[in-house]
């Protein structure tokens, strides 16, 4: 009764607090409504429209989606995106964990190594991709020279995705390793001491202590990496220009979205692609959240 009465009639101090609350969230909320919420609704609507030019749309129902699902390029882009995740996420996370474990050892120069592995993170993808293009150049690139091969790393449709995956893994390894390292550092030393007394070897310790204890961080990294990989665009865009014959073998959904929306001007169709991508990200994330119960170990 009492609390209800209070809720109905605020004291002057509470009223002031409420006004301050509204005032302080106002810029963010108004901004989010104008910059995000309204655009989200517009994109959703536009995906059922044909773009007539200059931001004018005509409602055409599900036509964009029908066209999309019948389009080979679209399915190829969906597969490319998934293939990119398959190539980069498991290997990338494995290597990141390895680096994190190495950095967690008692060694000198830890800070230096950490900074080195982290370096690609602060460089714009556009800049680092250009040097990788040079390294992977089929005629004069240093990699083919070193290997004594003549692989068309960037123009061979069978190879180009692997090339992009290598660059993606190289770029993300330090970031993921830093996150995993902070997870490893949170593991109490006493577990290892107890295991050592019981005579457990390093390998047993890794599988019975390290891996379960770091699994929550591993899960965060996995989710973030998956979400980022499903949205991949800049790296592939810089690596493979639209005149490259291998484009369709490497074009991701977001690359296709960019080309349809801003190069070809099919903003309705582009909106349908982006809605599809969001659904895909949602499904993948949901599956991960269900799957985590099997392997992620939350301390009680």
């Amino acid at each position: 009764m009492n609390s209800k009465a209070i809720r109905l009639k605020l004291s002057p101090a509470e009223k002031r607090e409420q006004n301050w609350g509204w005032f302080m969230v106002a810029p963010t909320i108004i901004g989010l409504i104008i910059l995000n919420m309204w655009p989200f609704i517009q994109t959703l609507y536009a995906s059922f429209c044909e773009h007539l030019g200059f931001g004018h749309y005509k409602f055409i129902g599900v036509e964009n989606y029908v066209n999309m699902f019948q389009n080979a390029d679209f399915w190829k882009a969906t597969w490319n995106t998934i293939y990119f995740c398959i190539l980069t996420v498991p290997v990338g996370i494995f290597l990141s964990l390895l680096v994190a474990i190495l950095l967690n050892a008692k060694i000198k120069g830890k800070g230096f190594f950490r900074s080195v592995f982290f370096l690609p993170m602060i460089c714009a993808p556009a800049a680092v991709t250009l040097v990788w293009r040079w390294i992977f150049n089929s005629e004069y690139g240093i990699l083919n020279q070193l290997l004594g091969t003549s692989i068309n790393w960037i123009t061979d449709s069978k190879v180009v995705m692997i090339t992009c995956a290598i660059v993606a893994i190289w770029s993300a390894i330090g970031y993921d390793a830093v996150l995993l390292l902070s997870g490893l550092q949170n593991i109490s030393k006493s577990y290892y001491e107890a295991a050592e007394l019981d005579g457990a070897g390093k390998v047993t310790q890794f599988f019975h202590i390290t891996l379960p204890m770091v699994s929550p961080t591993l899960f965060v990294v996995l989710i973030m990496r998956l979400m980022a990989s499903l949205k991949v665009y800049d790296l592939i865009y810089m690596m493979v220009e639209d005149t490259n014959p291998a484009l369709t073998s490497v074009q991701s959904l977001m690359y296709l979205f960019y080309r349809e929306s801003f190069v070809a001007g099919n903003r309705g169709y582009g909106s349908a692609i982006v809605i599809w991508t969001v659904l895909l990200i949602g499904i993948v994330t949901l599956v991960q959240f269900i799957g985590q119960k099997k392997w992620v170990n939350y301390e009680v």
């Binding site: 995000n36 050892a105 993170m121 250009l130 040097v131 220009e241 969001v278």
Partner: protein, 279 residues
């Protein structure tokens, strides 16, 4: 008492750790070294077979060429202003909202916070077409404002700083309130300074993201003078598709400011990203 063999094996493990880390570091650094070396080569030198490792001379011709084709001064200024305004907006608005969501009671709080959460989960590409249309309608394409536009508010920043304020005991704010501060003073004088490490992390996160972002600046600013370093490089790639020494010089110029900042603030960069990532 440790047996001899155990000490021995421990030494081996340490040695392997060092070797692995050094090898890894070489792989990480090599592209940057190769970029620097190539930027000082002539085009014919860069195409030698077998390749020449070191340039025959130290020369700036490629940098001159890159600066001639891309207005780097403008790109630096545009990128710096974009980062500055995005960081200022993210810190100011997200701090206010984060504080209010964490510490104040007001009607509609849960609903409004749900808006923040939903926006945070959605990828930014879903907003791009309408955002671009808004900028076009405002006749603001090819301006610094256009570059800043999607970063005027930050759902992630709000969420992240709310966490920071939740970690501060209520008593601290209440004590200041009883001492006669009003809500705004409690926020600016007492609470905001306590979140400095989170604010620093948000600054780093916002800056690194804005600096690397490619799709938005490409879409919204097509005038070469109004591009960012990232989108400018994409243009340079088209111009000099085979002249790698110039491309390397351009990339180097684009990377330099951030790398210098990183050298001075390594710890803040890494911890900032670790904090924002491990949310």
């Amino acid at each position: 008492m440790k047996s001899n063999s155990m000490v021995h094996s421990k030494k081996t493990v340490t040695a392997i750790t060092y070797i692995a880390l050094i090898l890894g570091s070489v792989v990480m650094i090599f592209p940057f070294v190769w970029m620097i070396l190539t930027s000082s080569k002539t085009i014919s030198e860069s195409m030698q077979i077998p390749p020449s490792i070191f340039p025959a001379q130290l020369m700036l011709d490629n940098f001159v060429e890159a600066v001639k084709s891309l207005p780097f001064m403008n790109l630096y200024i545009n990128t710096a202003l974009m980062i500055l305004f995005r960081v200022l907006c993210a810190v100011a608005f997200s701090s206010m909202a984060g504080y209010a969501f964490a510490k104040l009671k007001f009607k509609g709080k849960n609903l409004l916070f749900t808006i923040v959460l939903v926006q945070m989960m959605l990828p930014s590409q879903i907003f791009i077409i309408p955002q671009y249309q808004m900028v076009a309608k405002l006749s603001a394409a090819d301006t610094v404002f256009a570059l800043v536009f999607p970063g005027l508010v930050s759902a992630f920043g709000t969420f992240f700083l709310r966490q920071a304020y939740m970690g501060i005991p209520n008593e601290i704010g209440e004590a200041a309130y009883l001492d006669g501060c009003n809500q705004w003073q409690v926020f600016t004088k007492v609470m905001f300074p306590l979140t400095s490490s989170s604010v620093a992390a948000l600054c780093v996160f916002t800056a690194v993201f804005a600096y690397g972002d490619l799709m938005w600046p490409l879409v919204v600013n097509s005038d070469l003078k109004m591009m960012t370093l990232s989108s400018g490089l994409a243009t340079l790639r088209g111009q000099f598709s085979t002249n790698f020494p110039v491309l390397m010089a351009g990339s180097l110029l684009a990377m330099l400011p951030m790398v210098v900042l990183y050298m001075f603030f390594q710890r803040q960069f890494i911890e900032g990203v670790a904090m924002t990532g491990g949310k």
